[in-house]
């Protein structure tokens, strides 16, 4: 693989070292987990993951942790992602697209406000009295 030189990496290392030391101890403002089972991958989870990486890159965000996980058992609602803002309950988002995850990133991950219309389990049942 050409071009990725040791110099490039050394430069980044110097530039980001300062930022990383702030973060030691795992102080993330939020965690985003993309479900990457066979079902998720077939439905487009990789696109979701890459859209999130682009958001981190373009907005230069250092305190959001991006992870993958396996199948959560809701294969028909993939692609799915779980957003966990520090100190709050995790929220699962379903039937994702690149557009939806960008909106979720902006509103929930950065803004702290759950995007209810894309979340799992809201408005799916009615209670009859």
């Amino acid at each position: 693989m050409p071009k990725l030189t040791l110099d490039d990496l050394a430069k980044i290392r110097e530039k980001t070292k300062r930022l990383t030391t702030i973060r030691v101890g795992g102080e993330y403002r939020a965690k985003v987990c993309v479900h990457m089972g066979t079902c998720g991958i077939a439905a487009g989870a990789r696109t979701i993951m890459n859209a999130l990486m682009k958001e981190l890159e373009e907005r230069e965000i250092h305190d959001v942790l991006l992870t993958n996980s396996g199948c959560a058992g809701l294969c028909s609602r993939e692609p799915m992602a779980t957003v966990e803002v520090a100190g709050q309950a995790p929220v699962k988002y379903v039937d994702l697209t690149e557009k939806k995850i960008k909106e979720i990133f902006e509103k929930h991950v950065l803004g702290g406000k759950i995007v209810q219309e894309y979340a799992l389990g809201i408005g799916s049942e009615k209670t009859d009295y």
Binding site: P2, K3, L9, T16, K17, T20, M49, E57, R59
Partner: protein
């Protein structure tokens, strides 16, 4: 799965599930023999003989969230459709090697797809796992080893925006150049 790069991501997820710390992905295009070979080799917990036999059965899975396991059966089907086959070798405690072969010129061979996206997804999603990627076309080879990148970064996380950007563009450019040169 639309293309082979998605199959690769899927099979590598199995390796991660099996607690592999190193995953080697090898893609070899041998145009003289009209043969494409994909290998995914991990050092995960491995499988015993019985499990190896069952692994290609879609109704067998180790997962508890659902009752079907389609990753390997789908890859086996993709290989069969292109006049190839799937082979599994595994030893408990040692690891697993998945090998799929395809006829390169076969009309039903799936496109290779976006390898860069697959690699970066694995690299960022599982920073503790080392990924080695080797792509061979006839006699020339291109290689990526995350161990080398990580040792240079000296503790700076792979998820830093700066690192992400440089790794993404370099993997993509590197692969594109390699493809063009061929």
């Amino acid at each position: 799965m639309e293309d082979l790069s998605l199959h690769i991501l899927d099979i590598a997820e199995n390796s991660i599930e099996a607690q592999a710390t190193t995953i080697e992905i090898r893609l070899e295009e041998n145009r003289r023999q009209d043969l494409l070979t994909l290998e995914i080799i991990d050092n995960g917990r491995g499988m015993d003989k019985k499990m190896v036999k069952q692994a290609a059965d879609p109704f067998v899975t180790t997962k508890k969230t659902r009752r079907v396991g389609l990753g390997l059966p789908l890859l086996a089907e993709a290989a069969r459709a292109a006049n190839g086959r799937l082979d599994l070798e595994s030893k408990p405690g040692k690891g697993t090697r998945v090998r799929a072969t395809f006829q390169l010129s076969h009309i039903d061979l799936k496109p290779i797809g976006d390898i860069a996206q697959t690699l970066i997804t694995l690299i960022v999603g599982y920073p503790a796992v080392d990924i080695v990627y080797v792509h061979k076309v006839n006699d020339s080879e291109c290689r990526l080893d995350t161990k080398e990148i990580k040792s240079q970064l000296d503790g700076v996380p792979l998820q830093s925006p700066e690192v992400l950007k440089i790794i993404r563009t370099h993997i993509k450019e590197g692969l594109d150049q390699f493809k063009e040169a061929k």
